[in-house]
Assembly symmetry: D2
Homo-oligomer: 134 residues x 4
């Protein structure tokens, strides 16, 4: 991913990037992939009927992360309140999904890796929020 390069060449940004926000964008795209993949791996497990809540949270988290990644990417004009709300929603979605995945981490390696991705994305969302504070 080249979010840093792309955003630093935006005409209004001119190299003056918010690095916390850029890390967050990259974690959002990465977590969207991890959650899509974990939902699918859970669906392939023999014990899928014990993983339905995990799949639900994975799918929701993937949707929030993908939307947050796109929205946080945009630098033309401004829409700070929406970015802030989405970063908050994304931190919550990642926290809940990470907690659920953690419960299955001992049994399913994909849940363990996905939980780590959710934790990193949650932290990145919170740091991006702090970096935007008035």
């Amino acid at each position: 991913m080249h979010a840093q390069q792309m955003i630093s060449t935006h005409p209004h940004v001119k190299g003056n990037t918010n690095d916390a926000l850029i890390r967050c964008i990259e974690e959002c795209y990465s977590c969207a992939q991890a959650c899509t993949s974990c939902a699918d791996a859970c669906l392939g497990e023999d014990m899928v009927n014990q993983l339905t809540q995990c799949i639900r949270l994975n799918l929701d988290c993937a949707d929030v992360c993908a939307a947050t990644g796109s929205i946080a990417t945009r630098r033309t004009g401004s829409n700070e309140e929406v970015i802030r709300r989405m970063l908050e929603a994304c931190a919550v979605a990642c926290r809940l999904c990470g907690e659920e995945c953690e419960r299955h981490a001992g049994m399913h390696e994909h849940c363990r890796i996905c939980a780590e991705s959710c934790r990193r994305c949650e932290r990145a969302c919170r740091e991006a929020l702090s970096s935007m504070a008035h």
Copy 2:
């Protein structure tokens, strides 16, 4: 759209649907289309350089609406806090996009129609939030 039919046949719902939430789901998908279309129509206007903030808000609103529509559709397991956060983010995105589109409504019919769609979706999100209140 057949969200009512689809969700009422979910094994855990069994006809006992939250009608405010279902209306909201339909408005989210509809508003995602309207905002995608308005961004594109603004981009096609000769005065596009005066519509860049409108396009930005349209694109962000389309992303939030699409994610909210998917997330609010799911009824297996539970993820109430994420649904709530997304309904709030969506109401904000729709309010801001609707206000911006309203400014161009006299000049651009697509902005007038999109503003209406945003208002309906904002209201539907707020009603869905009320319907979920403890």
Copy 3:
């Protein structure tokens, strides 16, 4: 959904809409919702382990339909080859998902309704393709 109203007010369209394409856009958004909903309802069934292929096709079909609906909405500039490829991919995704849902239609009402939605969307994609033929 107000795709007709939105697209007919695009500055380059000026009321001269391709009605087959607009019907297709509406079916794509509708089918994206139906497939998201059917994946979730299948996940909530006791016999979920017999529905994993159906869930897989539902999730894929929802992704293709959502992307196709957005792309087919845009009228500024041109990107005919991509629209055409996506309409073809969407027709295939809908056919395969509709066939799989049809297999469970006697047992699960959500699969029966979703199969109908997939069939309508497949047909709408094919009619949109014909309407764009040279």
Copy 4:
């Protein structure tokens, strides 16, 4: 991005990954971000009215890449024909978007970087297609 780690732990994959497909998944997510970012940077340029076709292709390419990345991620059950169609559509979307961005590469650094991302993603889609050939 940890697509390799995630997919190699899928219960049906068990470490036996298709590396060309995994590289393609990562390029799809990366290109979705680059195209979203380039559309936004073009929108922020003073000469936006000369970049409307580029923005159109960027937005379409972002949609195709995001859908292709999700669909190619899934390994439960099978849906080869849809993956194949989406990889083809994605290669076309990336080729056309990359060619358009290339035209502005001398003037806009974001177009130059995005063109490279599109080229890498196009190549990765074609290599993934080859790797799936019967």
